[in-house]
Symmetry: C2
Subunit: 240 residues, 2 copies
């Protein structure tokens, strides 16, 4: 394949690629990763691949079993519920801090970005919408001034992304309004109101997550079903 860069910055490149595969469950839940095959498909040897894999183990996007190898994490509703719960905790705390600390300019900048880039959701895929939503929330949490909060959220987002593709389908129209309301309350430094909006915006019940996880399994193992993944290379059962 000419035109495809293969060599440079190997570990970071491999890391990004595999992170994408794991976050989207292009590697299926509990599926073992064949290092040799993966290495070949990424144009590298097993050594840097294993290094990237080990980083993803530390991030809990993959699971490592000694003597067995690396596996994609399971699609475990309880764990996803824990992550949603954690996300609410972090974002509520972050916006509380942001109400105290963020500059008017930074708040206004994010509001502007929301108005220009976050408005026209027609013609965009669910994946693109989720990607923008993640970016919006990570910037929002960044207004707390606490970089560790942002890192945690970044990891959580990668791990719940797959479920969020299904969740977003139901909430596209609501999301926009909530984002605008949130920014308005943030500009007014109303922390209490912000927390309430965020909680309602993010919070999920366990039974909802189970529903989305079921939909996820359908999309992964019965790719012809309707859903946010329909027509995507993932749903078509991409073979690398």
């Amino acid at each position: 394949m000419p035109g495809e860069t293969v060599n440079p910055a190997s570990v970071d490149r491999i890391y990004d690629a595999v992170r994408e595969l794991a976050a989207s469950y292009a590697i299926k839940p509990d599926e073992r990763i064949n290092e040799g095959t993966l290495a070949k498909s990424l144009g590298a040897s097993r050594t840097p691949v294993r290094e990237a894999l080990n980083r993803l183990v530390a991030e809990d996007l993959l699971v490592f079993q000694p003597g067995k190898g690396f596996f994609c994490r399971a699609l475990d509703p309880q764990q996803i519920f824990d992550l949603y719960e954690l996300r609410v905790i972090l974002e509520e705390a972050a916006i509380t801090l942001a109400c105290e600390r963020a500059s008017d300019e930074d708040i206004e900048a994010l509001r502007q970005d929301l108005m220009t880039n976050g408005q026209n959701y027609e013609g965009k895929s669910v994946k693109e919408l989720v990607a923008y939503d993640e970016q919006f929330h990570e910037t929002l949490v960044g207004l707390s001034g606490n970089g560790e909060l942002v890192k945690r959220l970044h990891n959580i987002n990668a791990r719940i992304r797959f479920v969020r593709w299904f969740d977003m389908e139901q909430r596209i129209s609501i999301t926009r309004g909530e984002h605008r309301e949130l920014m308005s309350r943030l500009a007014a430094r109303d922390a209490e109101a912000c927390r309430g909006i965020l909680r309602g915006h993010i919070e999920k019940r366990l039974d909802q997550i189970i529903t989305y996880a079921r939909a996820g399994y359908s999309a992964l193992y019965l790719p012809d079903a309707q859903g946010p993944l329909a027509g995507s290379p993932l749903a078509a059962g991409s073979q690398g």
Copy 2:
């Protein structure tokens, strides 16, 4: 050296060993890690060592610079402040959940453990006290029923441990009382009171952290100074 197991479960063993070195700054801040030397001292080759190193990079205990190698993280007061802030956020949220969810038996079990193992602090080193304190708090957060919260706290603890060795010196006697008070309020399911105690128990101001960081640098680079590390192999400048 007979009696010293070297072979088995290589990566996990190396990971634990290096995590210890990094958490205690036995590898000094910003110091480069010589893979070959480290591998030899651990009785392994560079390959598994680098795999463990990559895991620690993902946990932010080490920093990786392409072409340069692996470095111990800097002793950065702002980052440590962020971690303390995050720790308060997580523990407050956890105890709020624990008040709702934890069983009386689990609460009582932790209280018992505190009474038996957490009482006699005489004759114990500061490091041992911090180790018990970490364990206590991780169990406490576990009462929330949210495993992701525990994982986050576990990482935070490793990253602020070094500073806590200095902090604990000042707070040994206070700590015990606060732990007992906390358990009493938790048994009464008084979330508001628990949060207040925890915040006062954990929270640090940036200037305090800067003070401890300074003390840390002294201990690392002038090992003959007094402090919680005095007489420890770390303070003596252990050469592996």
